[in-house]
Amino acid sequence: MKENKEDREPKIVGFLCNWCSYAGADLAGTSRIEYPPNIRIIRVPCSGRVNPLFVLKCLMDGADGVLISGCHIGDCHYSEGNFYARRRFAILKRLLEYLGIDSRRFQMSWVSASEGDKWSKLIKELVQEIKQAGPNKSNDKKHD
Amino acid sequence: MKNIYLPHLAEIVDIKQETPDIKTFKLKFKDQAVEDSFDHKPGQFVEFSIFGEGEAPFCISNSPTRKSGIECSVKRMGKITQALHELDTGDTVGIRGPYGNGFPIEDLKNKNLLFVAGGIGLAPLRSLINYCLDNRNNFKSVTIVNGARTSKDLVYKDEYQAWEKARDTKLYLTVDCQEENWTCMVGVVPKILEQLKPTCQDSVAIVCGPPIMIKYTMPVLLKIGFCPEAIITTLEMKMKCGLGKCGRCNIGNLYVCKDGPVFSYAQLKTLRYEL
């Protein structure tokens, strides 16, 4: 039986900044706003803490998507961490695309501590997009 | 033909915390046939696999005369030792071996034996010491000089009593600096040797410890009168395969894993090994 693209539940790794996005996701939970369970959250101090290597390792070890989420520009707990992240990952995003890795697999967002509803909406969209991108084939035999 | 890189599965049956960063693991092969056929000489080592982490060589620290599983003492250092220290009894590891030449037991017979150990360097010597004590009539006097940074870092404390009590056997313990309630000797191993002046007549010195200790112990032993052929040491090198193929543990044309790890000081000198 052929597996339908839409049926397969993708695995997404989320790197969430402790101060905004993690709290935002938490708020979504405590407010009982539903969102798909496809995302595995890793809490980081700041979106500026995330290294391109983290993203790469997730994608190479089989994650179907990676999300980095931090405070809105101007709201960083460390004043400027997300500015650095924005620059760094703009380059990575374009490079991944250039290498032919589906750019939907790597996304970034700003979600504040009060945006539980934005978080839920974001994840719903993200899961849809990544479902369309299909399963990540990095664990295929040809990669050995 | 067998896959020579394939380990046998073994279970950790006992873990003993020797010092804050050294644990002794006792292992039993899962396959009884392997357990029965496994035979080693003092001074040999095994390749220890922690699946998912990697493989590292450790010397076997129990004597073949006291077989109740393989014992290895491991100091927490890098990736694999770290992972190993996190394991519990009942966990599974992989074992390949034994590899290496081991101590030249025939050459030691009817000799006075001087064991010089520093820190975890006692591990390979413990195997030989217990072997000698179990075959006591084959050897003359046994002198053990064992040093560590502090009394906390001394390994195999449980066995000291038995060694002291054994016939014609002396044990000298030393720590680098004076401590409260410490009754044995104080000072680094080479200094203690200078004080003790053990006999070099009909003697063989077997040395194992950190490189810096070996470096300063050699001249002292030579001064006491040991000839380079009568000083034996076991070396450490980065090893991967244990079979003399992966190419990193060579000293001159000899591989520590296959032709060693036990070398005489005379051999090392011709190999231009710098201590």
Binding site: F83, Y84, A90, R94, E97, Y98, L99, G100, H143 | -
Partner: protein, 294 residues
């Protein structure tokens, strides 16, 4: 010109202005050049300078940290010295830059692959064709090119091949890169030859954690080449050494150029332009584009 260079080198060593001069000497084949380390006046005569002097010698500066070094540097090599200065890897007073005007060096890689006669097929490197300046931006002493050949750059879009690849479909790009990277043997020559790769422990060598496969398999190769390029983002000055040394001919400059082009578009940044400039990823602008972020 070469005599002038030798006189200068001798003078620098004699006055103890420098402990060592890094330059070029003739290789064993009698045609090509190889790096040369001169610390005695009598060895100065070994030095040469011509179109075969392809190497970016700035790479050796890390071997001699703390010493006073004289270095023969082409305009592109000087750009990498600028980045090293920006990143505090080098003290300006410790390096005496003997700049040389350069009208392009040979394409050593093509020579090797073409296997034709060395002299006849000597063409200029691709990087030289998009070179913007034949004079080093900073130096302590400048050797002028008497023949005034000037830069050989062709007024062509330097990102032409990048653009060509960009417009292909995602699948085609993936196929292209997978084919290229599948040949990678993970010799790390691209890293070792790069003056910007000075990390004491490269992420590729780390064991705790191991970031990607150590083996020369597609997954590991893809990861390595991607990370190498990312780590050079805003730092690569296009000396082209990585692509030149790659024994299996992976077009690494296509990766470097892509990032170079992106940062020009996104942040109006050019690597190695001047010493006072802050490194791209150690700085930011409040107005950096963020429309791609949700």
């Amino acid at each position: 010109m070469i005599d002038e260079l030798k006189i200068k080198a001798r003078e620098l060593l004699k006055n103890k202005q420098v402990d060592l001069i890094i330059g070029y000497q003739r290789a064993s084949d009698g045609v090509l050049a190889m790096p040369c380390f001169v610390d005695r006046e009598e060895d100065v005569d070994k030095l040469i300078w011509d179109v075969y002097c392809v190497y970016n010698l700035a790479n050796y500066l890390k071997d001699y940290a703390g010493q006073k070094i004289g270095i023969i540097a082409k305009p592109c090599d000087v750009r990498s010295i600028v980045v090293l200065l920006q990143e505090n890897q080098l003290r300006r007073e410790n390096v005496y830059i003997i700049g040389v005007e350069c009208s392009g060096v040979i394409d050593e890689k093509r020579l090797r692959l073409g296997a034709k006669d060395i002299q006849e097929s000597a063409t200029f490197g691709v990087k030289c064709k998009s070179c913007k300046s034949s004079t080093p931006s900073i130096c302590d002493y400048l050797f002028k090119d008497k023949e005034k050949k000037g830069k050989i750059s062709e007024d062509k879009d330097e990102y032409e091949s990048v653009r060509k690849l960009e417009v292909r479909s995602s699948l085609e790009r993936l196929k292209f890169w997978e084919e290229e990277f599948s040949r990678c043997i993970r010799c790390y020559a691209c890293r070792q030859v790069c003056p910007m790769c000075y990390c004491p422990k490269c992420v590729a060598d780390q064991a705790m954690p191991a970031w990607f496969s150590k083996g020369a398999n597609l997954k590991g190769n893809l990861s390595w080449n991607l990370i190498r390029a990312i780590h050079l983002g805003g730092r690569c000055i296009d000396c082209g050494e990585c692509e030149r040394v790659c024994p299996v001919g992976i077009p690494l400059r296509e990766l470097n150029k892509k990032i170079e082009k992106d940062i020009k578009e996104l942040f109006k940044y050019e690597a190695g332009a001047n010493v006072e400039q802050k490194p791209l990823l150690a700085s930011f602008d409040k107005d950096d584009p963020g429309d791609w972020i949700k």
